[in-house]
């Protein structure tokens, strides 16, 4: 066990994967000599050499396109996209190629790759260093989407994602990178994909969140507990394929659902969650499922704490929903 923040835990996962499987390799902009702009890959080029930790030219198309080729050969490339906001130049390779390769070859070829990318706001990054584009990938059949909230899960989920035989988009909450510390095993343990986690049991409202907003949801739950409202908070951890069981049974119990995410509201993952749960637990619902989300604007700078669905926006919604 070592106390680690999120950056260290991810670094530890990458180091473990590089040690245990010679097919694993890392690639991305500035990840080698510099160790990544967030230092997530610090020390790895030194330990594993430039053939396993590749500093690439400035091209997300190149990074993701060549990673697919490597994965088709049987390597397990882990690419870093410097900010999720910069994944779009390589979007075509992900949705047209990585996502569809298995299906279009009836399993004869597949693409075991991981795309790590820091996402989300709260670091004064403005429009292009704050986005949360998870919904675009959840909408793309063939991709898995993971978003850990804490160091322990991050390490275990990343190791699992690297072992996974399908392409996984791994969103890292950059706001949490250095903000949270916890004991993390030094082994290469796994956290399975597709399992959410009840981080706070409660009876009256189910609150779903992931990544950086998990903390806000949790704090809001604690806050409203003072007013006697008992909220169950679930950390989705894997966004897709979703842990539908855990969520549905929670809502069947509470009858009330609040979803928190940073991404713009419209056509965000929150809408899908509302629809899924409404389909499955309609007769259990005692209040309309509601979403506390980023607004439908580009991500702003000065007012980023007004844009984000922080405690002060979540708590009142939990109350309203509980008292509906």
């Amino acid at each position: 066990m070592t106390e680690m923040n999120l950056v260290q835990a991810i670094n530890s996962a990458l180091r473990g994967a590089l040690r245990e499987d010679e097919n694993v390799l890392l690639m991305g902009e500035d990840i080698g000599t510099l160790g990544g702009v967030f230092r997530v890959t610090q020390g790895l080029r030194e330990e594993f050499g430039p053939d396993r930790v590749l500093d690439t030219p400035l091209s997300e198309t190149g990074i993701l396109g060549t990673a697919i080729g490597m994965a088709l050969h049987g390597l397990r490339p882990v690419s870093e996209i410097q900010f999720a906001d910069f994944i779009y130049p390589g979007f075509d390779q992900l949705v047209s190629e990585a996502a569809k390769y298995r299906y279009r070859t009836a399993g004869e070829f597949h693409v075991p790759m991981v795309v790590r990318t820091p996402y989300g706001g709260g670091i004064r990054g403005g429009q292009y260093h704050s986005q949360s584009p998870e919904a675009l990938f959840i909408h793309t059949p063939g991709l898995k989407v993971v978003c850990p909230s804490n160091p322990y899960d991050a390490k275990g989920l990343l190791l699992e994602a690297i072992e996974d035989d399908d392409p996984v988009i791994f969103f890292e909450p950059k706001r949490v990178y250095r903000a949270v510390k916890m004991d993390v095993p030094d082994t290469t343990y796994r956290v399975p994909l597709g399992e959410g986690k009840v981080v706070r049991a409660g009876e009256q409202v189910t609150c779903l969140a992931w990544g950086a907003m998990l903390y806000e949801a949790f704090s809001a739950a604690e806050e409203v507990a003072k007013e006697g409202v008992d909220v169950e908070v679930i950390d989705l951890r894997t966004l897709w394929p979703l842990d539908i069981e855990t969520i549905t049974s929670s809502v069947k119990k509470t009858g009330r659902l609040v979803i928190v995410h940073e991404a713009p509201r419209t056509c965000g993952f929150g809408g899908e969650l509302v629809a899924l749960i409404t389909e499955r637990a309609f007769l259990h619902l005692e209040a309309p499922p509601v979403r506390v989300t980023g607004w439908d604007t580009p991500f702003p700078l000065t007012h980023e704490r007004e844009y984000l669905p922080l405690v002060h926006r979540i708590a009142p919604v939990l109350l309203e929903t509980a008292r509906y």
Binding site: M70, D92, A106
Partner: protein, 360 residues
């Protein structure tokens, strides 16, 4: 660069030195490709298959390049290169089944016709988006290099694909990482209706390679032996650790872009006729006749063999049923997740089955 002279003799300085058997095999494969193509185009016109994208006039560029690659080398196709796959021994029946999207289609009817692939033949999967396969080839070659394998990768694409994002990224990565990859650009004069002169301002495509410091050659793509020689040279460079090579194969798309196209709208008959005269199959035939190892009888025998073969495949393909409906829901992931299980169940059961009948 041209190897076969007009009289069928070879430019001895450039002769890649193929044996008679090898040249005949190459010729026969080109003819077979053409005959398969013709047949598929015909049955498409009869509405028996949905679509076909052929290689009429480009057989030397495709089969000649495939022949110069070694068995252990990978082929990363665009969509006109089924001739290369057949060269490698892919069963014709399998291809025709795919064209029909029937129960024996290796991709279970999930893809449009002419979207082939085969791991045993080291032939990656065709996909429609232009250019996306080029970085795959570079990645594949980087993997081979990292694993210290004596493999190289030949990737096909058209002149139009040189305008894609992926071409640029792939070429640049190849220049920087020096993997054993061959960029095989079929410059067939058109990207659907756009002539290459309006695709880019350069006089040749080959000169683009210098922008990435990738060595380049430009050969007569209708001269199978010139293609063979240039590609073989690239393979040798790659195998010797010399990194990537770019080869422009100058040819012409004699047919339409695909069976959906009507090329008369955008080009003249005269232009096409000139290229018909430069037919790559005629050219290679001249050479083997010049070598005195081929004649009209052998030629018509071989054509008959090919024709019967493809007709038999078509006949069988037409008798096969459609793929199972359930195959629509597998292979999205390695394991089927809950939501696809549910969707599959919903799709197969319930009132739909009945309603469906009336529908079609």
């Amino acid at each position: 660069m041209q190897v076969i002279r007009d009289d069928g003799s070879l430019d001895s300085k450039l002769d890649p030195g193929l044996s008679v058997d090898e040249v005949i095999a190459l010729y026969k494969a080109m003819v077979r490709t053409r005959i398969v193509d013709d047949r598929l185009e015909r049955i498409q016109r009869q509405g028996r298959i949905a679509f076909h994208v052929g290689s009429l006039g480009e057989e030397a560029a495709i089969v000649g390049a495939a022949a110069a690659l070694r068995d252990r080398d990978w082929i990363v196709p665009c969509y006109r290169e089924v001739g290369a796959l057949l060269w490698r021994g892919y069963p014709l029946q399998r291809y025709v089944d795919h064209m029909y999207g029937n129960a024996d289609d290796p991709v279970h009817g999930r893809q449009m016709p002419d979207h082939t692939f085969s791991r045993p033949h080291r032939y990656l999967a065709v996909s429609a988006p232009i250019g996306t396969q080029i970085p795959h080839a570079v990645g594949l070659a980087m993997a081979a290099k990292k694993r210290d394998l004596d493999e190289c990768v030949g990737v096909f694409f058209g002149d139009g694909a040189t305008s894609s994002n992926d071409f640029h990224a792939a070429m640049n990565f190849a220049g920087v990482f020096q993997p054993p990859v061959l960029f095989l650009c079929r410059n067939n004069g058109y990207a659907i209706s756009l002539p290459v002169e309006r695709q880019t301002a350069t006089r040749t495509i080959a000169e683009k390679a210098a922008a990435y410091r990738v060595p380049a050659a430009r050969v007569d793509g209708n001269d199978a032996l010139a293609v063979f020689g240039a590609v073989r040279e690239g393979v040798q460079r790659a195998a010797n650790g010399g990194g990537p090579t770019f080869i422009e194969l100058l040819t012409y798309r004699v047919g339409g872009h695909s069976t959906s196209d009507d090329p008369r709208i955008y080009r003249s008959e005269e232009e096409v006729d000139a290229w018909r005269d430069a037919d790559p199959i005629l050219r290679l035939r001249k050479h083997i006749e010049h070598r005195d190892v081929w004649n009209d009888d052998l030629d018509s025998d071989w054509r008959t063999v090919c024709d019967l073969e493809v007709k038999a495949c078509v006949r069988r393909a037409e008798q096969k049923p459609a793929p199972e409906l359930g195959e629509m829901f597998t292979d999205v992931y390695a394991e089927q997740p809950w939501h696809l299980r549910e969707q599959q169940a919903r799709s197969l059961g319930g009132p739909r089955a009945a309603a469906e009948e009336d529908e079609s």
